[in-house]
Amino acid sequence: MILLAFVLVALLTLLGIGISSTHGRMNTACILHAFLYILLAGYVLLFQQVPVSSFLIGSQFFFMDHFGLYEVLIASVIFTCAAVYARGYVESLLGSRELEKGSLRLFYASWTLLLFVLVLAFFSDNLALFWIFAELTTILSAMLVAILSARENIDAAIKYIFIASASMLFSFVGLIFLFETSRTVLGAGTLNWTVLMQHATAFPAGMMVAAFALVFIGFAAKSGIFPFHTWLPEAHAKAPSAVSAVLSAVLLNVGMYGIIRVWAIVHQTPAAATIALVMGLFGFFTVGIAAFSMLPQKNIKKMIAFSSVENMGFLLIGTAVSTPVAIFWVIFHIMAHAFTKAGLFFSAGILHRQYRSRLASDAVDDIRDVFQYQPFAAWGIIIGGLAIIGTPFFPAFFSEVFILIQLGGVSLPALLLLLALLFIAAASLGYFVMTSFSRVSAPGTPMEIEPYATPLTMKIPVLFLLALIICLGILFTGQEISFFDQIVRELMFA
């Protein structure tokens, strides 16, 4: 029944956006929407018997287990922050006429629908249903990228749609293979994840390799894994920053979520060893490409976007290792990456507002006197940057260390290679931040540009997320551990 509450909230929000006439009201509706989702997901987690099975009796289309709830919680937190942030940010876009007033309703409607569809995707038991919702998230988020209706944005959105959707078609063929396998083995075909999990050990290896390879193509494209990552930096860099944060922190998770779910099935079959190797290789290529693309990068949002590619590659390597500990930390890293990355994009958005005439999304950034103009955003980038490269006592540090240790158990050269690549990525991020933030005009020269008065609503989400990641890094309660253990058990890696 609880799923109906999610549907109802989304419908009410859409209605609210439909009847409200001002930007403030539409924005408030979106904030409330995401916040209510946090409450709902929290309620299910604390007071209900998880996994909750579907309310549609007899046809298992939806279910809620710990993993799905976890992803929904991350998504709702990010969306709440991003909606608060959008209040100031979109206002400023309207002010500079980069966003037309007429598109406002479309923007917030897509925003609401995106969160709604994401939640449905994470609660889908049927893999084909998950596929459809994942596909819809592509379309809706591409709409949010294209909303600025500058040619560049449309280019990026079209590229995103074509690469992601065409790859997702391969995924669908993979799902058909999976369906056919289950029909051969079980008698009646099914794509229900829970059923497939129960019978996975009986599936033949050859079919499984083919099915996983095809499914992997689509979900890899969605999460920006090499060689399908090409859409990602452009879409993330050109989207409005509130949208970039959502794209990077939530939408990439959809692909990862799909890969982990299907991997949980395939992991139990004899095909596991082959596929783990292939996945690991793709992970290494992804991290490598991202690290070396970050090296010469001169654009702050592209830099952060490539860092997302790097983190997705890292997650893929962790998934390929697939020991219980590795999976535990992969799942933790999803959260660490999401919160940190959203904070980074928010800070970058403030800088983008400040230097917008100079920050064309392809051009070299010309950030000057940043501590004079935007000290808050500068510190946001510095602390967020430290967190994302895995400085000790930030959450990403723990997940990276433990995944690296687990990788070392599999192969020592791989561990060293990954360490080197992570170091290159971290160094290039650090170098970029140091050079661009230390660039100052000669003393005595008058200020060339107006300082952008950052509204409070754009600062609060950054502060909140920074506080959150610091807390997550320092506090690690027993409940948290048992929660993650529960996810690993439900995915049958332990």
Partner: protein, 230 residues
Amino acid sequence: MIDTAILQGIVKILFVCVIITAAYIITTRNLLSLVSVYALQSLTLAFLALALWFLESDPVLLAIAGITVVSKVLLIPYFIATVQERIRIKRDIEFHFISPTSSLIVSMALMLVVYIALTRILRGTPARDNLFFFGAVLGISLMLMGMMVMLSRKRAITKVLGFLSMENGVLLFGMFVTELPFIIEFLIIIDLIILVLLTTILTIGIDSTLEDYQKRLHRFHLWEGPGEGP
């Protein structure tokens, strides 16, 4: 009931029609006929579903034929044709990477590869007759050919047609390999329609020869290049 042998003959003829339409989509430079050929291809698929329905009498196939006709023979081609009129492009003569002739040769090679790969993969599943196996091979090949269209064409609107042709391949494959629940097929069509709506509206922006579009862009800070516009 119609005789099974005749039906199988019909299915084979329809297979040939699918290949012809796919080859045409790869090679043609005329945008208007591209859309009608796509509609024809979808119609062929609808007939295939009908023929399969006579063979297997599974009501899902009938429903698939129905929604295919409504969405892919009527709705989507009509919409794309309207958009094409708006952007006033009739021909797409630019190709990336490979020319039409070589892409035809490549697609023949692809079919062979798909045939060999599927023979190996489907070995474990219960023996189906040749017809179903060929349907599967053709489905995947159609999909790969659609992907080649997406790769080799420059115009976004042609890429949309390549994508649609890919999706037809998936439908064909799904029809012959297994029977999916109808609700899934239906949702895919909905998804497809939204996707086509969005991409074609966006392509008006990219492929457009209208000047006002370019003028609007100059207002934004995001695009300040000189008039090297669309």
